[in-house]
């Protein structure tokens, strides 16, 4: 860029630093009259031409001027990113209960789990595509019931739900051993507090 005209430089800096669009009068109030410089309006025209076709543009809105990023580049300012995230303990417990007991209502999940589940937990499982609503239970209140999806089987490498090991298999594998219950409770507490943080994080 050639622009070393002092007024042009000054107008450029003032508009850049301003938190809001500026009228010619307020630009002049900042810039004053630079010796040997062009007037404000000429400077604005020069800048408008200078920035034409660039990543940023000088634009006029009503009688105020401001810089903005070029409209055709708006997509760069918002970007999607896929992040691998591990399911929380509440999430995996809920998923396990649905997988073993489907179709199952939320109240039934809570009864089995012994702990209430937050709305977000089922949402996450549905967002992951592993769980779907599967109609309503024909009991008073007609609660929604949930079941697993084909994507669930696929993700966990199962041909069918019958591939899930039964209670006796789990016992044989020592997975029903209550020894680490106390430890687990501690972990739950730790997770509950980090879960709270996560939810905060999710909201931004």
């Amino acid at each position: 860029m050639s622009a070393l005209d002092p007024t042009v430089r000054a107008v450029e800096a003032v508009l850049f630093a301003s938190p809001e669009p500026l009228s010619i009068d307020s630009i002049r109030a900042h810039v004053g009259v630079e010796k040997g410089g062009s007037d404000i309006r000429t400077a604005l025209e020069t800048l408008e031409a200078t920035y034409s076709g660039r990543g940023i543009a000088l634009v006029q809105r009503g009688d105020r001027w401001h810089f903005q990023t070029a409209p055709d580049l708006a997509h760069l300012l918002r970007r999607d990113r896929e992040e691998a995230r591990r399911l929380s303990r509440a999430g995996i417990e809920t998923l396990a209960i649905i997988a073993y007991h489907e179709p199952v209502s939320r109240a039934e999940i809570e009864a089995i789990r012994g702990v209430a589940i937050s709305k977000g937990t089922l949402d996450v499982l549905m967002e992951a595509g592993w769980v779907r609503p599967a109609g309503r239970r024909e009991v008073p209140g007609r609660p929604l019931i949930y079941a697993t999806t084909p994507a669930f089987l696929q993700h966990f490498g199962l041909t069918s739900r019958r591939d899930l090991p039964g209670i006796e298999d789990l016992r044989a594998a020592g997975l029903l051993d209550p020894v680490d219950l106390a430890l687990e409770r501690l972990e739950d507490e730790a997770e509950a507090s980090s879960g709270a943080r996560e939810e905060q994080g999710d909201s931004d």
Partner: protein, 240 residues
């Protein structure tokens, strides 16, 4: 000397080293060439004046004054061979400290004089902002799933408590039994003769609780105890 004209407002100094540096500056020479002896004189005169004006001096100023007075005498007196600490080295050390403080003071001033963001130079006033939209790719392993299910099961399964058959004699029972039996004995009897019949496990428990029981009864003066030697039979009788 300019040093004498320094105001005596000690709140203005950040400790003795700061004061020394200001005094050294008044010698108007490179810090590498200051006269430590002259500096010491200046400092001591300063402290002396402060004392005469009955200004309260913080302890560290006085400690420094005492140290400098010692340094001064060491520098003036004929040098003892192998004197430790070496006064020349002490003086040099002081000079090096002053140089370092002066260097950092100057560096701080130069730092503050730079074009600072938000004061001299400005970032964009109204940035559009950049947003990252995160899309979660949820991950979980089959093992976690089944292990978790096992844990839920273990956690929520009804727990049955089985109380094993424990053959014990309580302290209360032992107290009662020993109190009752000791009255019917005429002479010293070994503790084992007070125990009920039963399995070996019951007898061990009964021996322990009966031992505690006779100690308690002895304390109350209701029995007398005798033992000839360590591990010899423990003999019990009613007091005569």
């Amino acid at each position: 000397m300019t040093g004498e004209q320094l105001t005596l407002d000690l709140d203005g100094w950040e400790g003795p080293l700061d004061l020394l540096l200001s005094l050294a500056r008044s010698q108007k020479v490179d810090l590498r060439q200051i006269s430590i002896l002259a500096l010491v004189e200046q400092y001591l005169r300063f402290i002396d004046r402060a004392g005469r004006m009955q200004l309260e001096l913080a302890a560290d100023y006085l400690v420094m004054a005492a140290w400098l007075a010692y340094l001064k005498s060491s520098l003036l007196l004929p040098r003892q061979p192998d004197e430790d600490p070496d006064p020349e080295e002490m003086a040099l050390r002081l000079q090096l400290r002053l140089e370092r403080l002066a260097a950092m003071r100057e560096a701080g001033a130069r730092l503050m004089a730079r074009d600072r963001l938000g004061r001299d130079v400005f970032p964009r006033g109204a940035p559009e902002g950049l947003a990252v939209q995160r899309k979660a790719l949820w991950q979980a392993e089959l093992y976690d799933l089944i292990a978790t299910y096992g844990r839920i099961n273990a956690r929520t399964r009804p727990v049955m408590h089985v109380v094993a058959d424990r053959q014990v004699m309580t302290l209360e029972a032992a107290l009662e039994r020993v109190s009752m039996l000791v009255g019917s004995r005429v002479d010293w009897s070994a503790i084992e003769t007070f125990l009920p019949d039963g399995t070996e496990r019951l007898r061990r428990s009964a021996l322990a609780s009966s031992f505690l029981a006779v100690l308690e009864l002895a304390r109350q003066g209701k029995v007398e105890l005798r033992q000839a030697a360590p591990f010899a039979p423990l003999m019990i009788r009613q007091p005569a």
